[in-house]
């Protein structure tokens, strides 16, 4: 489907708001280039409305609804605005466009969170215009698209495949069976044959009674003949039983094996797709939820493909053919038996719907319980440190009680319903008896006469009725579960990587390490700017120190360089090329990162050091470890480099982990090196050692080093002081110290005082 159409549909379906600027307004502004627009969905008395805020090159327009039409209400020249003041309340936001601080605002608008991102963009655009900073819009800028994307951002992050219908999801799932057409065919043949052959024994039993036993008892058949005939029929019944099991073996083996294949295909596709997704995706989904999609959701699909589809199919075939057989055997009894079936099915269905509500309640309590678990188990150190074991036990017991209560009411509802349903079936059976008995006791030859054999076949068939009814009754729920699993899987598969990969592939050694930021801004959530309009140029081989207050945006700047995220506006230029044009993989290969809390994988130290370069020689691994000052502590372990570090490397200390990760970076020989507080978790002695290691490491590379201790940055060519997303000061250590009231000077003074106070 056309993407724009899809976005429009989603906006109107979920938000019931216009999916682009009304035509009438566009016509009103024909000779103006619209840069961006947004919906103002609250009026002054906080009622929903639809006014539109439209930004032109140097004017801001507000169109209000008057009857059916939108009419121009306010027109503001950007130059008349001195400040845009933002108020945030729990359910809305307000912008006030001020001309001077002590004057009433020129314009104020109220709106809800849904409109906040796009209006935030408008605010940002106006503010850059006010500062008369030149701002280059991307070539393919389209206000409609920008508006739609911004409005849908939160919704799309929560669920990527909003427009898919259930039927479409089902077809897509069936599409995964395509490579296994042959198996599907033989599996289906097996299923149908085994179902049909299950119908035969009851029929044959009736025949045995009517054509052999009754004639013999009435003296119409010789004993030997009767015996022979009886054995033959019995042998046939036995043969049918064997055939039935052979067919069901055929079905089960084909289907369950194929189910595994389908589940495996899904898992493979999911995992490789996950590896392509950006960090923003992992930031907004819970790890548990992603893991369960790869593990339990694919397992549910297996269940569905292997058993679900077939069971339902078999149940349907059984019910229909049973009814057909019964009606041909004896249409009166047959109808008495089959007509009430739809009523039973419906009652099962409605009961299922009612159960759904109970399940939601139980599920909510269940998620409370798992929350207690996932809080306290990883956080057990904190629990113990604060002596909260008793309290956590209470909390758990409370949740446990709640869950048990809910599940009990689920079971209560089931246990009440089930005997009722069975009772319904018994009533039908009784009706059949009541109808049959007068006919059994009537004379042979009369129109109403019912033979004993037919009746026995009938009774045997009746016992086969309840199981398919049960299966079909559960079908809706089972289908729902499988579809929602499929949906969750497809949702990930449909999330497109937020980073568009570039074309230019960098060969090893081709990167020089020239980095330029041009007016770069960035926001994680689309609303709050974490980096605002940063400009700098760093030459190959330079070492840059990043200092500044916590939360200022230092780590974010380094993540932008490594292209973990794309900038919101502005450009990052590497060696004269836009970072977006470079192929991400080949670029990152030449970027090394040492993070504050390095992540080690479960495995040996040597594998952790050469992660990403499995073929590198052991000699080099040891050399790198030596440079990183890790060799000594590694050798203090009994198993040396083959020591297994636990999950996340938790058996190592923070400083040890950092040195392993420095060794990792050394081995990669990157052109651009990023050290994010690489020495924050170690004692002074080790810091010295790591510092020495780093000093060897930084030669010939462009280095960005984030540090809180300024002494770490003594080798830096320049230092950037980052505060509230902006670079406030730049220069060498000495330059910066000269600014008496500068931020750097202040930092430096404080650190000196601290070390002086210490003596």
């Amino acid at each position: 489907m056309n993407l724009e159409l899809e976005r429009k549909n989603t906006i109107s379906k979920y938000y019931e708001q216009e999916s682009s600027l009304p035509k009438k307004i566009k016509e009103n502004l024909l000779n103006i280039e619209i840069e961006l627009y947004g919906l103002i969905d609250l009026n002054e008395s906080m009622e929903f409305q639809s006014s539109w805020l439209v930004l032109g090159e140097n004017t801001l327009y507000l169109f209000k609804k008057n009857g059916e039409e939108h009419v121009l209400d306010t027109k503001l020249l950007i130059t008349s605005i001195s400040r845009i003041k933002e108020h945030q309340s729990l359910s809305s936001s307000k912008y006030e466009f001020l001309t001077a601080d002590d004057m009433p605002p020129l314009l104020s608008v109220h709106f809800t969170g849904r409109q906040k991102i796009v209006l935030g963009h408008i605010k940002y655009l106006i503010e850059t215009k006010m500062k008369s900073v030149k701002y280059n819009k991307p070539k393919d800028w389209n206000p409609d698209v920008e508006y739609q994307k911004a409005v849908l951002k939160h919704l799309n992050e929560a669920q990527s495949t909003l427009s898919d219908k259930q039927g479409k999801t089902f077809l897509r799932l069936v599409g995964y069976l395509k490579p296994y057409k042959k198996d599907v065919f033989w599996g289906t043949v097996g299923a149908i044959c085994s179902t049909l052959s299950a119908l035969l024994p009851a029929y044959l039993t009736g025949r045995l009674l009517d054509t052999v036993i009754k004639p013999f008892q009435e003296g119409g058949l010789q004993k030997t003949l009767a015996m022979n005939a009886a054995w033959r029929i019995l042998a046939a019944i036995f043969l049918v039983f064997i055939l039935k099991e052979v067919f069901s073996y055929m079905r089960l083996s084909k289907m369950s094996l194929m189910g595994e294949d389908v589940a495996m295909d899904l898992r493979t596709e999911l995992f490789s797709h996950l590896q392509k997704l950006g960090l923003d995706f992992f930031g907004r989904k819970q790890t548990g939820s992603i893991i369960s999609r790869v593990s339990s959701d694919t397992d549910r699909i297996w269940d569905f493909v292997a058993f679900g589809i077939v069971e339902v199919g078999i149940a349907l075939v059984t019910l229909i053919s049973l009814s057909a057989v019964l009606i041909t055997l004896d249409w009166k009894l047959g109808l008495a038996m089959s007509l009430p079936v739809p009523i039973l099915l419906l009652s099962i269905y409605y009961h299922g719907e009612r159960m759904q509500k109970l399940f939601i309640r139980a599920w909510r309590k269940w998620s409370d319980l798992t929350n207690v678990l996932s809080d306290t188990i990883p956080g057990i150190q904190v629990v113990k440190a604060f002596n909260q074991e008793e309290k956590e036990i209470d909390r758990f017991n409370q949740s446990n009680d709640d869950v048990t209560g809910e599940f009990k009411s689920v079971h209560y509802a089931w246990t009440k319903f089930w005997p009722l349903l069975m009772m319904g079936i018994q009533v039908i059976v009784m009706t059949v008896w009541i109808l049959a008995i007068p006919r059994l006791i009537s004379e042979e030859g009369t129109t109403d006469y019912l033979s004993l054999g037919t009746f026995v076949s009938f009774l045997l068939y009746v016992t086969m009725f309840s199981q398919p009814i049960e299966v079909i009754g559960q079908m809706a729920r089972m289908l729902n579960r499988a579809l929602s699993s499929a949906y969750r899987i497809f949702e990930i598969l449909d999330t497109s990587p937020s980073l568009k990969n570039g074309r230019t592939i960098l060969k090893k050694g081709e990167l020089k390490g020239d980095i330029e930021f041009k007016n770069v801004s960035f926001s994680y959530d689309g609303v709050r700017k974490v980096v605002c309009g940063i400009n700098f140029r760093v030459l190959p081989g330079e070492m840059i120190g990043l200092v500044g207050s916590s939360g200022g945006g230092k780590s974010t700047i380094t993540k932008l360089i490594a292209r973990f995220f794309d900038v919101s506006t502005g450009e990052i230029i590497i060696d004269g090329k836009n970072l977006r044009e470079l192929e991400v993989g080949s670029f990152r290969k030449q970027v090394g990162m040492v993070l504050q809390d390095p992540y080690l994988f479960h495995g040996t130290l040597v594998d952790n050091i050469r992660y990403g370069l499995p073929d590198v020689s052991l000699k080099k691994v040891i050399e790198a470890a030596k440079i990183a000052n890790a060799h000594e502590f590694i050798m203090s372990f009994e198993l040396g480099y083959e020591t297994i570090v636990g999950e996340r490397g938790h058996t190592l200390s923070g400083g040890e982990r950092q040195r392993i990760s420095i060794a990792r970076a050394i081995l990669h020989d990157p052109k651009i090196l990023i050290l994010d507080e690489a020495t924050s978790a170690v004692d002074t002695e080790t810091e010295r050692k790591i510092q020495d290691a780093l000093d060897k490491l930084i030669e010939g590379r462009t280095v960005f080093a984030v540090a809180h201790r300024l002494s770490t940055l003594r080798k830096a060519n320049r230092i950037f002081v980052v505060d509230k997303g902006e670079i406030k000061e730049t220069g060498t250590h000495n330059d910066l110290l000269k600014k008496k009231d500068g931020l750097y000077n202040k930092l430096h003074r404080m650190q000196q005082e601290m070390s002086e106070n210490f003596v």
Partner: protein, 162 residues
């Protein structure tokens, strides 16, 4: 809690902005324009208000609004009433679940509205009995009291808040 009056003045000016004066030590009694953020916006609306200057830095933390003189408090409340808006749900038309999303169709103090939450974001029940729903975009919707809803709406929400 004892509530001793603080020696500060708050007043609304014609431009609808709130001003604070009286912080001798820091601002030498100059009037400064302030904005207000609440420390506990859900559960304690009139306690622990953070007064912030234009750069969004805290200039004063007010533990309780009863520590203001009457006129200051009046001005403060009036200022808050403009910026302090919370949508109240008065009726619930439907609640539907789909993969990853829960759709509420509700009637609020501002009109009819579709709101979406994540499936694992359950409505939160506060101590005072009100129910808070925070939608995907971060807006808060409140049901002040479940008892006062129509019985159909009560039934719908009952599944989520018992």
């Amino acid at each position: 809690m004892t509530t001793e009056l603080l020696d500060i003045r708050l007043f609304l000016k014609e431009n609808n902005q709130l001003y604070l004066s009286g912080l001798k030590d820091i601002f030498e009694n100059k009037e400064i324009e302030v904005n207000i953020k609440k420390c506990f916006p859900w559960s304690h609306q009139d306690k622990f208000l953070s007064f912030r200057n234009k750069d969004d830095e805290e200039v004063l933390l007010l533990p309780d609004i009863n520590q203001l003189d009457d006129r200051s408090r009046e001005d403060l409340l009036q200022f808050l009433s403009q910026s302090d808006f919370m949508m109240k749900i008065t009726d619930i038309i439907s609640i539907e679940e789909e993969v990853e999303l829960r759709n509420f169709k509700v009637i609020t103090s501002s009109g009819i509205r579709n709101i979406q939450t994540k499936l694992d974001d359950w409505p939160k029940i506060l101590k005072n009995g009100s129910v808070m729903i925070q939608d995907l975009c971060g807006d808060t919707f409140v049901i002040l009291s479940i008892e006062h809803l129509e019985s159909a709406a009560r039934k719908l929400i009952g599944t989520y808040v018992s």
